[in-house]
């Protein structure tokens, strides 16, 4: 008994364009949600700055070629610091370091979190127990002091050391979340259906489970990237990063070292802080937006004008 097909008409052959289709959907989703639009624009601006710093800032950040302590002017958009370096250039060139840390740490921690979280949920039993202990221990230990200890022992904390330290300590929170969601998915019928049709366990985890967790995984990535920025900048600020790299945290470090706020060069301290805050907000906005896109119940409701009966 043939069922007449109602609704979407389609002439497209069965196995068509998944990539273009998905991009179009993402584009539409971003445009429709205000938080997503703002967050994406901010992030794109930072990415552009990181990719083409020379186009935007015409001075070298490290060259102390100018008179120190200049205020804001057209030649120096944010003035110069104590060493005569152009502050605006410093921030622009520093963006690259910050974004590298954010994305590398974000991807690495999310990767570890997915591995451990989903494995714990699926292997169950003893594996789940021991992975949980590992996760919980890292959750409970205060991360920042731990990072300080690690970075201090690494003697001269280059960016790589920073990345490694933050990655190794920062995956536990999102691993927990992913494990929780994987557990709820375990009992879903479509996974039982995959088992019953004879799929192997590893296939089920990689192909059937993880793709259904994409929205949570993306949210975890954004969370992890945000915390990477904050932790890295904090470590650099207290001097545990490499003070010779150009980054927002190191700029803050030098500002603090030279008592910028007290000596009448406030922008030196405030500007990098503001950049960190804005980048952090971009990640946070995208995180909220993703929640709302994925779960329509969370979307802000615009109250329509009620009609009088």
């Amino acid at each position: 008994m043939a069922m007449p097909v109602s609704g979407v008409a389609t002439d497209t052959p069965a196995a068509q364009l998944p990539a273009g289709h998905a991009l179009a959907r993402i584009g539409r989703a971003i445009r429709s949600n205000r938080k997503a639009t703002i967050g994406t624009i901010l992030l794109l601006i930072f990415i552009l700055i990181a990719l083409f710093p020379g186009v935007i800032a015409h001075d070298s950040p490290t060259q102390d070629a100018y008179a120190p302590g200049l205020g804001i002017s057209t030649a120096h958009l944010l003035g110069t610091n104590h060493y005569g370096q152009d502050l605006f250039s410093q921030l622009v060139y520093g963006t690259r370091n910050v974004l590298i840390i954010a994305f590398v740490v974000g991807l690495a921690t999310t990767g570890i979190a997915v591995l451990i979280g989903v494995a714990a949920a699926y292997l169950g039993g003893g594996w789940d127990g021991s992975l949980n202990v590992l996760t919980d221990v890292l959750l409970v230990i205060p991360l920042f002091p731990l990072l300080i200890i690690i970075a201090a022992y690494a003697h001269g904390g280059s960016t790589l050391v920073l990345i490694a330290a933050i990655t190794l300590t920062g995956w536990s929170y999102t691993a927990r979340q992913l494990r929780a969601q994987a557990l709820t998915l375990r009992s879903r019928d479509f996974l039982a259906a995959a088992r019953v049709r004879g799929e192997r366990q590893l296939y089920i985890i990689m192909v059937e489970v993880i793709p259904t967790m994409t929205s949570l995984i993306v949210a975890c990535f954004l969370t992890n990237a945000l915390y990477a920025v904050l932790f890295a900048s904090s470590l650099q600020f207290i001097g545990l990063g490499d003070p010779n790299t150009v980054s927002w945290g190191t700029t803050l470090y030098w500002a603090e070292n030279n008592a910028a706020l007290q000596t009448g060069e406030p922008l030196w301290a405030i500007a990098p802080g503001a950049c960190i805050a804005v980048l952090g907000s971009a990640f946070a906005l995208l995180n909220y937006a993703f929640d709302e896109i994925g779960n329509p119940a969370l979307r802000p409701v615009r109250k329509p004008r009620s009609k009088r009966a």
């Binding site: 008994m1 069922m3 109602s6 329509p304 009966a309």
Partner: protein, 320 residues
């Protein structure tokens, strides 16, 4: 007692409004049992929420009125509504597992409900809670139980007991039996009917199971795609269904008595409310559709005591 006129409910979405309930009108008299029947997507649950003023965004009442004992509930504030809620009108939700608080005992929830609607002493609360539990056949010792300790049927009865705390004039029920097994379903329906006859409250009962409601409701309203397709006395509709959709629904129930006959069901799927078919919304699936059906949207035409939304009955006389 309850008069719904021209009620329409829209879901306000980015891509435009979707009308989930379209111009629905019906009345419920004192002590009457009205069954609302329809399949998924017909708007019956939305209608129920609209009548009980429980709609949450993005659903809004787009037009019409709900006159309950003379007052129009549409447009009242929450404070004004709370005077009516639970004292005169109460609601029993689908799936008590979701509606009952899993972390507090049943008795505590009854207490909350009573406290929300008046000042009562602790003894009064306990006495009344025990009384309503006994009314639905649950031992009052379960006031101390949690919802997961009760069976499905008992949970549903506890919900009904809670709805009866103030012996309201109208109890609205949204598919209270759909999560239950057939024996528990039947005993719950009988219980509801007994309570109704004892206390005289009216019932609006929403379900997708037409055969279940056939023995218990006084009048029946069949909904399809957000509209009322047939409204009349239950027995008359069952004996002589007028709308082709109602006929199709009735024929979709295999019987356990009598000879085995092949049945057809209704081909196709319920329409999307975002873009319903032109003219009569049922015409793509209707075995009796003719040339005017896609063009003209039928009104509700009276045929004897029944109202039918079908062009076949435009002139008030049954024509097949």
């Amino acid at each position: 007692m309850l008069e719904v006129s021209g009620l329409s409910v829209d879901y306000v979405l980015d891509r435009g409004n979707v009308r989930a309930v379209d111009d629905v009108s019906f009345t419920v008299g004192r002590g009457e049992f009205l069954g609302i029947v329809g399949e998924s997507g017909c708007g019956k649950s939305t209608l129920l929420f609209a009548v009980a003023q429980l709609l949450s965004p993005p659903a809004v009442v787009a037009g019409g009125s709900v006159l309950f004992q003379g007052t129009n509930l549409v447009g009242l504030t929450d404070d004004q509504l709370s005077a009516v809620r639970w004292r005169d009108m109460s609601v029993v939700m689908q799936s008590a597992m979701n509606a009952l608080n899993p972390v507090t005992s049943i008795g505590a929830q009854f207490k909350d409900a009573m406290r929300a609607h008046g000042k009562y002493s602790a003894e009064e609360i306990t006495a009344r809670s025990a009384e309503v539990l006994r009314m639905v056949g649950i031992d009052p010792v379960h006031l101390r139980s949690f919802s997961h300790q009760l069976s499905g049927g008992m949970r549903q009865r506890a919900m009904i007991a809670m709805a009866l705390l103030f012996t309201p004039d109208l109890v609205i029920m949204d598919e209270p039996t759909s999560a239950l097994d057939v024996v528990a379903q039947r005993s719950l329906m009988v219980q509801i009917k007994e309570l109704q006859q004892a206390f005289g409250f009216a019932v609006i009962f929403v379900t997708h199971d037409m055969s279940l409601i056939s023995h218990f409701s006084d009048r029946l309203m069949v909904m399809y795609a957000g509209q009322v397709d047939e409204l009349g006395v239950t027995r008359q509709i069952f004996d002589k269904p007028l709308h082709p959709y109602t006929q199709g629904l009735l024929e979709a129930f295999p019987s356990i008595h009598g000879p085995r006959v092949p049945l057809k069901g209704i081909p196709g799927n319920p329409p999307s409310l975002a873009s319903p078919p032109s003219g009569c919304r049922f015409h793509p699936r209707c075995p009796s559709a003719f040339d005017r059906c896609p063009a003209v949207a039928p009104d509700l035409y009276p045929v004897g005591e029944t109202l039918v939304r079908c062009l076949l009955h435009e002139n008030g006389s049954p024509s097949r």
